[in-house]
Symmetry: D2
Subunit: 358 residues, 4 copies
C-alpha cells in the first residue's frame, strides 16, 4: 500500500537503485500559488551527503513536477512528480543478492513476495522518504494559508536528550547545525557522539520532536480518524521508527489525573485556551487549539560498517559488512520527513473537517 | 470516521447514554464456526463493575448478533450486532450540559460539531470500545484457524512497572487478578496503588503490553500499510492513549546498532528465526515470524471525584466534580480492548497478504 | 463489501430471514434536525405488501434509530439503526437448501463462499435495500438544506414506456398510483400488464428514471470520482439492475455532435445555464447546474410462480417453483431505492466538494 | 479523485498539454514477468494519428517504467511510469482561455476549482486515458496467468450497429480495420459514416462492447462491490460515456422472467454452466463462470470543426470553432481503454476474492 490520506492523498513509487522515485499528490486544493524553490529546499534538507554525520551518497535530488500546476498555481488536478536517481552504486549490493541482512527488510520482503530487489534495499530503502518530503512541502504551502506551521527537530541522540518541554528552545536554530538540534551546546554533544559511533563502524538511534502551531480547534475525526491515530500511523510509516507519543506520552502514565489535567482559561473575548498542554493539543482525537506536539523514536540504523554474522537465503552462515553509503544516525535527515508527514496529515484533517457540519 | 480496516473492517456506532451501541463487522471470511460464548466472555472482561478497581456502572453488556451467521457459521455476509445500554444515569450529566470538563473531549467536540451529546461523554465515552471487543472476538476466532493468538496485560500502573522483557511472565495469569497483571506480587502492588488513588478521588495512568504469537512472516504492506503503522493507528484510536512503541521502542534510541541487531539463526530444516527480538517481530513494516510485541501508554482518566475548576460554554469559571461512575485507572479494562484492536489489524493484514503474489 | 461512500458513508447488514437488517450512517453532518416520520415514510414507500402489484410479504418495516441524534438533531456521531424482520416464512425455502435457482445468486454465493444462507435469498435478497432507504432518507434531509431534491419514477414496464423527456410530466403524481408512474393513463396500462404477467406466474422488467434538481455546478470529482461514475456504481449496486444511462444515454450514440451540444445561455445577472440538457446535468463528470437525470434498467424478477427446471448442488436436475412471496415486477418498489442511492451519492459529492479549493 | 481500485489500484496524473502524463500502479502481485512490448502495443492501439478516422495529433506515446520491476519481473513494489507529451499545440487553445466550449468540462471545472487549465482540455482531456491503458496492460498480464482475457470492439457507430449477440463474430478481426469492428462489411460502413461526418466538421457517437472470458465463478463482492457496479463505475469514468449495460441490459426490461432465465446445465464431471447468458456472466453481483459481457455508450465528441455559438467567462456571446486535432468519433480509440478498465476491475476482484473464505 503506497497511498496515505483520505482526501488529500499521496501515492509514492520508486526504489533506491531504480531509475527514479516519485509520486502523485492528489486532492491538493485549487488556487495555491506554489513556491517550487521552497519544495526543493525541503528536499535539500533531507538530501544525503549534507555533512559528516550523514551518508556520503551524492544525490542532487531535483524534483521535476509534471502536472497539476498552471502558471505556478494548483488547479485541483493531481500533481505528478519524479526525482531521478543519480548516484546508485548497485555493485555495492551484489554480495547481498542472496543474503539477509539482520534487522533489515531483506528477509521479510522475500517472505512476502517470494523475491526482493536487493539493490540498496529496493523499496524498503529510506530513499523513498524523499518523495514524502515533496508531498509534505505542497501540504505545508496549503497549510500556510491558514497560519499553520510544522517544525520538527532532533531532541535526542543516544542518551543525549533535550528536556521534554520545548518552551525554552529557539526553534529558529534547528537548521543551524548538522544534527538539527535547536540547542547549539547539546547539538555539539550529539554531533560528537554520532562521529564517535561512526568511527567505530556502528550506529545510534534518536528521537525527533515535532510541534504544529496554529491549528484551529476541531480537526480530527472520532473514532477511527483521531488526529492522534493518524499522526501515529503516518509517523510509524517512516523507516526505522519504533515509537510514537504525543503530549505527556509515556511519561504521563506515572502522573495523577489531578496533575495531568489541562485547566481551561477563557480571555475576555471568550477565546478558550489551556494553562498547560499535557494533552499535546489533542483531546478525544480532536485538536483543541493548543500546539500539537509529539515525539518519534528512531532505532539505530541496521547497516553497520563492521563485520556482522548473518545467513544467506539457504540458511547458511555468512559474514557481511556494509559497503554502501549509510547514515550512522538517521535522525538529522528524518527531521524534514517527520515534518512532511505531519503536514500531510494536518492538511487532510483540515479539508475533512469542512464536512463536519451542515 | 467510525470504520477501521481495509478488507476486514469494523464500523461502530453508539453513545454512552443512547439506546444502544453496536456495529457491523464486514469482510469476515466465510466458514468460521463462531463460539458466541467466547465473544461474550471477551465483553465480560471489559465490562464495568467487575471489581473495586473499576467503575461501578452496572451493565450486562450482552451482545445480540443480528446477521451474518447460518447455523453458527460465518457466511461472508456482514455481522451486525447491538449491545443495549441499561444503566445510564443521564441525570448525572445534567450539570455538564453547558460545561467543558478539562482534558475531556467536551470542548473539542463542540468546536468541531457546534453541539455535543453531553450525556456520559456521548460518542467520546470509552463505552464505545465494547463494540470493538465484539469485532475483535470475531477476528480472534478467524486468527485461531492459523494458530495466531493475541495476549495483552497490564505492565505498568503509575510508577509500578513490570520489566520490559515478558519472557519470564506466565501470561496464563493475566486474568487471575483484577488489574490483569500476570505477576501476582506486582499485581497486588498495582491494585493497592489504584485503590489509594481512588480513595483520594484521583486517577492514575498505566501501560498495556501485548504480544501476538504465531504470526507467519510476510504480513504487513510497505510503505503506508506497515504492520507497525497500522497497529499504532489502531492503538492510538483507543480512548486515553498517549503513546505506542514496539520492540525496543523508545528505549532503543540509546542503543548502538551493534547491540540492537537481531541475529538470524536457521535450523536444520531451513526455518529462519532470530536470536533476539529487538525488532518486535516487524522489520520493514512486515512480520518476520517472531512474536509481535508492543506497548500502549494510557493517561490518567480525566474525570476526578474531586472539585476541579473549569469553564462553561460562555467562558465563565465553574467548579465541577465527577458525579458519574468512573474508573480510577483505565488500564485493567483496556487490556481486552488492546487485544481486540490487535486482532482486527492482524486479521486484515493476513487477508490482504493473500494478494501479494501471482 | 457493504459500505458505500467516501466521507458520507453507509454500511449495511442483514439477511432476508435473519433477525434484523440495519446499518450505520457515518459522516452525517452535525446540526440537521431529523424528521423521523419522513424517514419512516420513505420506508413505507418501499415496504412489501403495498398493493396487488407487489409481494404479499407483510412487514411493518419500522426503523429504530439507536444513535447519532440528540434531541432529534444530528451530532456528527454515526447513526446506527435496525429494522426487525417480522414475517419470515423460512420454511418456504427449505426445498431450496440444496438447489440453485436459475438467474439468482444461489450458485454464485456458493461458488464464492462455499456456503450460502438459502432462506429467502439471505444477503442477496432485495430486502437489504430497505436499509439503503433509511440512509437515503437521512441524506435527503441534509440535501434539502441546500435546496436539492431527488425524484424517481417508473418510466417503463415491459414494452410500455413514457417518452424520454420528463418535461411534460407532473412528478407530484408519482405516488398517486401503485406503479409509481406520473402519467395516470400510462400507469393504468402498466398496472394491467403487471397483473396479467402475475396471473401467468411470470414476471416483467422495467425502467426507473430519476431527476435531481437544485444541484449547484461543481459537484463530482475528476477522474475516478465522476458524478456519473458514482451514480452508475450506486445504481448498479441495486438488485436486479442491468443498465444505467444519463442524459441522452444510449440514444445519444446515433446523434451528431452538432445536434447533441447543449448551448449556453447567460442571463443578465451572469447566471449560466444551457438551452438543452443532453448532458444530463453532468459534464466532464462534474455537475453543471442543470437537472441531473438518469435511467436505470431492471430485469424481470427471477423467481417465477411456475415450474422451472434447474439443478441441485450435486448437479442433478430438479424442478422448482417459487413458494415465497415475490414481486411480479420490482420497479414500483425500486423507485424509493433509486432515490435513496442518488441522495447518498449527491450528499457525499456535496461534502467532498468543500475540499476543492483553498 | 485520481485513484481507482481497492487493492489493485491505479493512480493517474497529467494534462493534455503538460510535460507528461503518467501514474502509479499499486498492488500488482509479485512474480509476474512483464512483456513491456505488449504494454507499448496496447498504447499504440490507443495512440492518436493511427488513421483517417482519428485525430491527427502525433504522439509516439512511449511508456517509461520507472520502478517496480527487477529483471523484468514484478516485485510487489508500485510501478511508476511516465509518458511524455510531445506534440502539444497549446497555441491552438489560446482563444479558449476565457471561453466555455458547450458540452465540454470547461464550465464545470471552472465552477469547481475557480480556474482551469484551458490548454487542450487539461485534465479533462481524453489524453489521460493513455495512462489507464498502461495500468490495464499490466493487469491483463496478471489475468493471463489465470486464463482470463478481455476483448472489446466497436459494435455501433451512429445508427450502424452489429447484432447484440457476439457469438457469430470473429473477435480476432477487431484490429483488422481502423474502426475496430470485427465484421469487415459493417466496419466499412462505419468507416464511411465517420469520414462523412468528419467532412462536415461534425462528430458521431458509438458503442463499445466487451467480453471477458475465463473468469471463474465467485468474483465480485456483495453488496456495494458488485462486479457489475464496479464495471459500471470504471466504464462511466471514461470520457464521453453516457451509458453502461451488461447481459440483456436495457433490452431485458421488455422480457418476461420466463424468457430471461439462464437455465443451468451440469456436465458429467459436475461442472455447472448455463444454456443462455442473459445475465451477462454476473448474478447477484458475482461472476458465474459464463462470459462477462457489457456495452458502453459514447456520445458524439463535443469539439466540432464548424462554428458554434457559445459564451465567454463573463457570459458574453462568442463563436468558437475547434482548431486543435480531434477525433470525429471517439469509439475506435476507446476500445483499448474499455479493455484496460475491465482488466483493472477484474484483477482487483480476483485478488479481493482470495479473502472470501477462511
Amino acid at each position: 500500500m503506497n497511498t496515505i490520506g483520505k482526501i488529500f492523498t499521496f501515492t509514492g513509487f520508486g526504489e533506491s537503485h531504480g531509475e527514479a522515485i516519485g509520486g502523485v499528490i492528489d486532492g491538493m486544493p485549487a488556487g495555491v500559488a506554489i513556491d517550487l524553490e521552497a519544495v526543493q529546499h525541503e528536499l535539500d534538507r533531507r538530501r544525503p551527503g549534507q555533512s559528516a554525520v550523514t551518508t556520503a551518497r551524492k544525490e542532487s535530488d531535483t524534483v521535476h513536477v509534471l502536472s497539476g500546476l498552471l502558471g505556478g498555481v494548483t488547479t485541483g488536478a493531481p500533481i505528478g512528480f519524479v526525482i531521478y536517481n543519480e548516484n546508485q552504486h548497485s555493485a555495492d549490493y551484489d554480495h547481498l543478492r542472496d543474503t539477509f541482512r539482520p534487522s533489515h527488510a531483506d528477509y521479510t520482503y522475500t517472505a512476502k513476495y517470494g523475491l526482493r530487489d536487493h539493490r540498496g534495499g529496493g523499496r524498503s530503502s529510506a530513499r523513498e522518504t524523499a518523495t514524502r518530503v515533496v508531498a509534505g512541502a505542497f501540504a505545508r504551502q496549503a497549510l500556510a494559508h491558514y497560519g499553520i506551521s510544522v517544525t520538527a527537530w532532533t531532541s535526542q541522540v543516544g542518551h543525549i536528550a533535550l528536556p521534554a518541554d520545548y518552551a525554552g528552545l529557539d526553534l529558529s536554530l534547528v537548521d543551524s547545525n548538522p544534527v538539527r538540534c535547536p540547542d547549539p551546546a547539546v547539538a555539539a554533544e550529539m554531533e560528537r557522539l554520532i562521529l564517535e559511533v561512526k568511527a567505530e563502524g556502528d550506529t545510534i538511534g534518536g528521537v525527533v520532536s515535532c510541534v504544529v502551531k496554529g491549528v484551529p480547534a476541531g480537526l480530527g475525526d472520532p473514532v477511527f480518524g483521531r488526529l492522534s491515530a493518524r499522526l501515529a500511523d503516518a509517523m510509524m510509516s517512516i523507516n526505522a521508527t519504533k515509537g510514537f507519543e504525543y503530549g505527556m506520552g509515556f511519561a504521563g502514565v506515572a502522573m495523577r489525573g489531578s496533575q495531568a489535567l489541562d485547566r481551561f482559561a477563557a480571555d475576555d473575548s471568550g477565546h478558550v485556551s489551556t494553562l498547560t498542554n499535557h494533552s499535546g493539543g489533542i483531546q478525544g482525537g480532536i485538536s483543541n487549539g493548543s500546539d500539537i506536539c509529539f515525539r518519534v523514536a528512531f532505532k539505530p540504523v541496521a547497516t553497520l560498517m563492521q563485520e556482522v554474522p548473518s545467513i544467506d537465503s539457504e540458511g547458511r552462515p555468512v559474514v557481511i559488512k556494509g559497503r554502501g553509503r549509510h547514515d550512522p544516525c538517521v535522525v538529522p535527515r528524518a527531521v524534514p520527513v517527520v515534518e512532511a508527514m505531519a503536514a500531510i496529515v494536518l492538511l487532510d484533517a483540515l479539508l475533512l473537517d469542512r464536512a463536519s457540519r451542515i
